[in-house]
Amino acid sequence: MSALAVQELTHDFGGLRALDGVTFEVAEGERLVILGPNGAGKTTLFNVITGLLTPASGRITLFGRDVTRLATHRRARLGLGRTFQVTTLFPRLTVLESVLLAVQGSDSARFTLHRPITGFPRLYARAEQLLADWSLTERRHVRTRELSYGEQRQLELLLALAAEPRVLLLDEPTAGLSPAETASVAEMIRRFPRDVTILLIEHDMDVALALAERLIVLHYGRVVAAGPRDEIKGDPRVAEIYLGVEES
């Protein structure tokens, strides 16, 4: 059974067809990179998969379950996590508070209102463990808005991971980072648990090719190429889309 499958997914923004019959499957634990020029529909695809947008037609299944009409938070509870292209964090909360919220989201305590959160040591234990695992312990009392941009991107990945996703959608995690920061973010993604299925939108070809097992190429809302890394690497259509080779 595939971890995630989309069938004939179509989405329109007014007259613009952002997704045009997109179909693909991702196996459990697979790392799939989605390539495509700006405006190809990559982020729209993520928004439709996570339920932030409702597709005009098509079907999305998560571990065999049809989630096409499910609310975003319900999909998240089924194990679908994501990061955003534009950093989407809690600006005035500290790193620890943010991770606590992420951990709490999949905990039965999340609706408790008659006890302070300090009454749930298990939440703190898990948050501290995650911070230690990803070398953020020293920064845990720093407010998110005071972190460097690189650290914010790392925190965004950590929040997504803290929710214990089974399928993780990463939307350009290295966008706007320096080469050194890009390398450390790529290393972080490489260290993610092997059983987590990862879909990655990435423009940095070095990062994309290092992480990808399989790639699909989107262009004007359509899948124009899909296959194992080495196959796509040599595909002339990919070079054409990215480099703008003229058809002769």
Binding site: T50, L52, A71, T72, H73, A76, R77, G81, R82, F84, T88, L89, F90, P91, R92, L93, L96, E97, L100, L101, A102, Q104, G105, S106, D107, A109, R110, F111, T112, L113, H114, R115, P116, I117, T118, F120, P121, L123, Y124, H141, R143, R145, E146, L159, A160, A163
Partner: protein, 338 residues
């Protein structure tokens, strides 16, 4: 430890101070406590949930009218009247929440205002039930059904004080609970919370209804205090005033709005004795606060001595430019010192 001592000292001070006050001053202090509660209730949605409301007087007024009508026309029993006031406020908030929480930001502000205006219109126009513009005078202080009468100023003050302390303690726990943390998360980034698996609407709705109940509670207390209820309790002036109380004190802190409520009540009293331009003064206060201390008194104090930087953050999504950014919270959910 320091905080605990401060709280104990504050509670003790409030318990002892009546003996040093004239009965007029005691009445003023009672009113300050009631409006402190009212302001804290709005703070729960505005300061913690990031949901601005310009119709918060609706729940205050519904509580007050329910108690007033029942006590005057049906049955003068404290438990029934008071309970019914709370239930009526809860039902109103539950209904309005369903309609209003579909919107955010300025739109939420407008919808809550419109809904409250509907109630104001009913109270104003339905003369045989509500007395219209004249209101309902002569609501007695609670005595029937209670072990001792609350008719006297001192007894009523202590009653209000006990309610105030109990509700403050309850709200203190709520804003520090996993629920309260999630509410703050929603204020900071609702989208992030959704993809983390939070049913954000449920949190906002629960907070909205809870805030309505506490507002209704303060309305209940106020109608007994004043012995009178009129459409003014449902008016936009009341809603705007409580909004200013929260902003003046510091949204997103628990103590700030309580302080803001007390200060506004005190100021109104002082200013009204010398001029009829109280609303003008209120407007000027609002402008000055938003310009020079957008995080309110608490934010200003914390900024003076606090370890964190300027509260002048760029507004985050969903916040109104007119609602100042919230203070760096040393006060609210501290989840250090595990």
């Amino acid at each position: 430890m320091k905080t605990k001592l401060g709280v104990a000292a504050g509670a003790l001070g409030l318990a002892l101070v009546p003996f040093a006050l004239s009965s007029y001053q005691l009445g003023l202090l009672t009113k300050m406590l009631i409006f402190a509660l009212f302001a804290m209730s709005l703070d729960l949605v505005l300061g913690y949930g990031g949901l601005p409301s310009l119709g918060h007087a609706a729940y205050f007024g519904v509580g007050a009218y329910t108690v007033g009508l029942l006590a005057l026309r049906v049955i003068d029993n404290f438990w029934i009247d008071f309970g019914a006031g709370l239930v009526a406020a809860a039902v109103t908030a539950a209904l309005f929440g369903l309609l209003a929480l579909r919107a955010r930001g300025a739109y939420l502000l407008m919808i809550t205002l419109a809904l409250a205006q509907v109630l104001w219109g009913i109270a104003f126009g339905w003369r045989w039930l509500t007395g219209g513009d004249d209101g309902l005078p002569g609501v007695p202080r609670p005595s029937a059904g209670l072990p001792w009468s609350l008719a006297g100023g001192l007894a009523y003050y202590y009653f209000v004080l006990v309610v105030f302390l109990a509700v403050t303690a309850a709200l203190w726990i709520v804003v520090r609970s996993p629920f309260g943390m999630a509410l703050i998360g929603i204020r900071e980034s609702e989208r992030r919370m959704e993809v983390l698996g939070y049913d954000t609407w449920r949190y906002k709705y629960a907070a909205f209804v809870l805030a309505g109940v506490v507002a209704g509670l303060s309305g209940n207390l106020y109608v007994y205090y004043n012995g009178f209820v009129s459409p003014a309790y449902l008016s936009i002036v009341f809603s705007a005033m409580v909004l200013i109380m929260v902003i003046l004190g510091g949204a997103g802190t628990l103590l700030g709005p309580a302080l803001g409520g007390a200060i506004i009540v005190l100021l109104e009293n002082v200013v009204s004795s010398s001029t009829e331009r109280w609303l003008t003064v209120l407007g000027v206060i609002y402008v000055v606060v938003t310009l020079f201390a957008p995080a309110g008194i608490m934010g200003f104090l914390m900024n003076m001595g606090g370890p964190y930087g300027s509260p002048h953050t760029p507004p985050t999504r969903g916040e109104l430019p007119t609602v100042p950014t919230l203070p760096a919270r040393g006060e609210s959910p501290t989840i250090r010192n595990v």
